[in-house]
Amino acid sequence: MSDLAAASRLAASQTAFRVLVVDDDPDMVAFLARILAREGLRVDAEFDGEAALAHIAASPPDLVLLDVLMPGMSGFEVCERIKADPATALIPVVLVTALEDHASRVRGIDTGADDFLSKPVNREELVARVKSLRRLHQTRRELEGRRLAAEIEHKEAIRKTFSRYISPRLADRLIAKSGEAPFDAEAQRINVVALFADLRGFTRLTETFEVGEVVGMLNEYFAVITDAAYRHEGTIFSMAGDCLLVGFNVPFPQPDAALRAWHTAQEMIAGFSPVLSSWVRRGGMSTGVGIGIAAGEAIIGNIGSPHHMSYTIIGDAVNTAARLMQMAKASELLVSGPAYEGIRHAVPAGSVEARGEVALRGRSSATPVYSIRL
């Protein structure tokens, strides 16, 4: 059909508003296609209801002009099916009919038709109706575009906020998989690797420097150690004073959690070295990061009161890592036996010293401890 081809060519050069004409009368289709093509619209045609539904499913148009009395499936039935399918329900449908009786109009409204056009078709009325529906369509698209932009902006804001508490990559994962619920309402018992880092001699530093300077120095220190944690997708559960608690294998599984903790510790100490040099030049005393790592069971969940909740980990592994950190000297990493088993192959042999079974405060049994100097 030459009109359809002409309309298609025209549509290729502009944002096409696509109209599907459905009528069993080829003369009616030719007439409607000619008028719509003159308005710069892209027109496709189908000659029965079944073919129309298949066309709409495969290539949803922006508007359907639908004859009512057709052999086989009637226009009423086609309209009902379009409106019953969530994927096509928003496509405007105009029933083009020579039926004039009240019952037919009511039936048309019941099927969900958006508008009616009487046959014989008045071309001015046809153009006016289609233009009106096109404007509505464009407005709806603009609104949808704005809604999507706002949603993206909102997600980005959430991502930025989240990224201050967990690694940015983890934040992206959480947002992408919004169906997942990593921060479960119910607490669960899980195997974790806990890493505690602390600035040795920090209290003395606070006595040496002015308050403003101390805050700046703390920020330099935390910038280094949080970056290291994020690079290895650790989750920061607590930041208090000069102490940081990072968890691995939580909230998402990390089969190589111990290795991640080991690499994080290395980068914390190596990254802090230039910061420390600048502090020494500014007259500060020598200090360094002490780190404790332990692996074992912990409870993860939202802990607190109805007014203030913290998503955190508690339990034996966390307590052990805290005790080890307290014992660690500057630039020393103390690792519990179970955690060391996960990194033994990666640690340079000359840098490790087995401390044997160590009695840690608050624990009934002794814990095997390994010291690694970095």
Partner: protein, 115 residues
């Protein structure tokens, strides 16, 4: 828009006096030969349907004529289509014969001008 509801019943004597000149929009000109060819075929189909007393087909054909005729600008086609649709509903064989004859007469005399 003409629906033919106020027109007097078809009368061949009156038709002879009426002008059969129809003015059609210029941009539809290339569609008209096919349109008229289909209308001539329609007359044959109407006659066959009447001969076999297929009033349902007559009603459907009349309904289609009513819709398409004046869309193009052929007011008489829509008017006769309405007469055929009504005649088929009431089973009025005589009225149908007259309408179909009038349709054939109109098509044989129609002169189309474009503007």
């Amino acid at each position: 828009m003409t629906r033919g509801t106020t027109r007097p019943p078809y009368n061949p004597e009156n038709m002879k006096e009426n002008s059969h000149k129809v003015v059609i929009a210029k941009d539809l000109e290339d569609l008209i030969p096919v349109f008229l060819k289909n209308r001539h075929k329609e007359v044959d189909t109407l006659r066959v349907a009447l001969a076999s007393a297929d009033f349902e087909q007559l009603r459907q054909l009349g309904h289609r004529m009513k819709g398409v005729g004046n869309s193009y600008g052929f007011e008489r086609v829509s008017a006769i289509g309405k007469q055929i649709e009504d005649g088929a509903r009431s089973g009025d064989r005589t009225a149908l014969e007259e309408s179909i004859a009038g349709y054939a007469d109109f098509l044989s005399r129609v002169e189309v001008a474009y503007e």
